[in-house]
């Protein structure tokens, strides 16, 4: 269980705004690690920095022995690092099936292997199977989230970045999505989960980091943080 992803002192700017300051953390193979924090803490910025959609000002990101912080986004995914972006961002004009096929865009291991993963995704997310020929734009929010996860799984990732998968979903659906995340992890995919819903995130994670105004304020075992008085006050609604 070695270190799979390590983020080292990264700094990201939006123009003159210093969005991320010297953020460092790591994710071990097989873990679920969560990054919790309020709106505007820099969670999505951190995600975009890892997946290559944003460039770093300083610092370095290593993944499986590659320095990915200088790589283009479309090459990073070829290393098996997939992202489920905030707001799902499914291709609404394409069908569910075509969206999943897009997820397999980088695959070169033949139709049969891709078909196996279609079956795997439909097994994990049976609702998608029913709606496979429907345009993704007609799906409900929860189904779109499932599709976004399924689409990311189609590239056979070693590691999955999930950005606020619970956003805008009913409590019941949030539970379902988190169960799916746990299942995905049990199937051998390492997970980095960014969440505002700290309660749910800390329940399924091994370790957690608390991000506040662009810096890491706390870190530790998820159970430990869930019992931490400051975390309870700020993120879990304790009095």
């Amino acid at each position: 269980m070695g270190e799979m992803l390590s983020v080292k002192n990264i700094n990201v700017f939006y123009g003159s705004i210093h969005a991320i300051r010297d953020v460092s953390f790591y994710v071990n193979e097989g873990e679920i690690v969560t990054l919790i924090g309020a709106n505007g803490a820099g969670k999505t910025t951190t995600m975009h920095a890892i997946s290559g959609l944003l460039k770093l000002e300083r610092g370095e990101i290593d993944y499986c022995g590659h320095v990915i912080s200088k790589m283009e986004a479309h090459k990073i995914i070829r290393l098996g690092l997939a992202q489920v972006p905030e707001g799902r961002r499914v291709f609404s004009g394409l069908t569910v099936q075509q969206n999943l096929q897009m997820g397999a865009y980088t695959r070169k291991d033949g139709k049969e292997a891709v078909q196996n993963d279609f079956d795997m995704v439909f097994d994990l997310l049976p609702r998608l199977k029913e709606r496979r020929n429907q345009p993704a734009g007609t799906l409900s929010g929860g189904e779109q989230q499932m599709l976004a996860i399924g689409r990311a799984l189609m590239c056979k990732p070693k590691m999955l970045l999930l950005d606020e998968p619970s956003m805008g979903l009913s409590p019941l659906l949030v539970k379902e999505i988190f169960k799916i995340i746990r299942d995905v992890n049990r199937n051998g995919v390492t997970v980095l989960l960014v969440e505002q819903n700290a309660k749910m995130a800390l329940e399924i994670a091994n370790r957690a980091y608390v991000l506040e105004t662009g810096t890491i304020k706390m870190e530790g075992e998820a159970t430990e943080l869930a019992n931490n008085i400051e975390v309870r006050k700020a993120y879990l609604g304790a009095q």
Binding site: G52, H74, F91, L94, M102, Y105, G137, G168
Partner: protein, 293 residues
């Protein structure tokens, strides 16, 4: 019978507009920019055919293929040199650059080939077809233009909807960032779009000049603008929209030339555009963008 002749000629002119409009609409859909230099790529392509076929006597098909290659390289180069550095810049900056590129191409053509009109030799060898005892005569150019447009439309639709590269183009046009996360190389996809659009422009140029055989450095400007209108008319970003918009525009133009006024035909075309946009701002087949969160 007269009406039928006007109609068929209108469809033929509209086919040319449709081919040019495809370039506008695909580039708009994928690169989110209006490439106003597109019409001038047609003009360059026509000059290539003019020299290859007219002056050097190459086989007409080889000449058109050569013109397609030249235009493809030109299109990719324009994108690489003029537009790519502006990716992420305000769209107004890109628009002005495109107009600049358009003038640049026209001026270069004027320097190289002078501004006097050249008489273009038709690349179509087909004899006119006469029907109804000679009452209806359809020129070879008309037949080839319509046929070429239909074949290209079908091929393009199959390519976009049934290949993984085509799906990548659709994905980039919907959400560039998300497409990148799928591993799509956005720059390469945009280059490909310019390549396809420019190759179609070469075909359109050869067909246009075969039917309307005067060639000068400004030849591409007006058809370019009209094809842009056709693309907006059909719903910019939509491939079937470009096709329908182009055909309708050609028919309206030709019928108003025949029955209303030759001088006013362009004004009528633009008036129709204004009315369509007032009633349906996204164009005939333009999609209303639904954002679901």
């Amino acid at each position: 019978m007269q009406f039928l002749t006007y109609l068929i000629n209108g469809i033929s002119l509209g086919s040319v507009y449709a081919l040019i409009a495809l370039g506008y609409t695909m580039v708009y859909g994928i690169a989110k920019m209006l490439n106003f230099a597109h019409g001038d790529v047609i003009m360059i392509g026509s000059y290539v055919v003019f020299f290859a076929f007219g002056s050097f006597g190459l086989n007409p098909i080889v000449s058109v293929l050569l013109s397609m290659v030249v235009c493809t390289i030109l299109g990719i180069t324009i994108e690489r040199v003029a537009y790519r550095p502006l990716r992420g810049a305000p769209s107004l900056a890109v628009l002005i650059t495109a107009i600049g590129v358009s003038y640049l191409l026209q001026q270069v053509a004027q320097l190289l080939w002078k501004s006097d009109p050249k008489s273009f030799k038709s690349v179509v060898g087909l004899q006119p077809v006469s029907m109804f005892g000679g009452q209806l005569v359809i020129s070879g150019e008309t037949i080839v233009t319509i046929a070429a447009c239909i074949v290209i439309m079908i091929a393009l639709t199959l390519f976009i909807n049934h290949t993984s590269t085509g799906h990548a183009m659709l994905a980039v046009s919907e959400d560039r960032g998300a497409a990148q996360l799928m591993g799509v190389n956005v720059n390469a996809t945009i280059s490909l779009t310019f390549a396809i659009g420019s190759a179609l422009a070469a075909v359109a140029g050869a067909l246009l000049c075969s039917s309307y055989p005067t060639l000068q450095p400004t030849t591409g400007a007006m058809p370019g603008i009209k094809a842009f209108v056709a693309a907006v008319f059909g719903g910019i970003g939509s491939i079937p929209g470009a096709f329908i918009g182009g055909i309708l525009l050609g028919v309206i133009e030709n019928l108003s030339k025949a029955y209303i006024s030759t001088q006013l035909s362009d004004a009528i075309v633009f008036m129709v555009l204004i009315v369509v946009l007032l009633v349906k701002p996204t164009g005939l087949l333009g999609k209303k963008i639904n954002v679901k969160v």
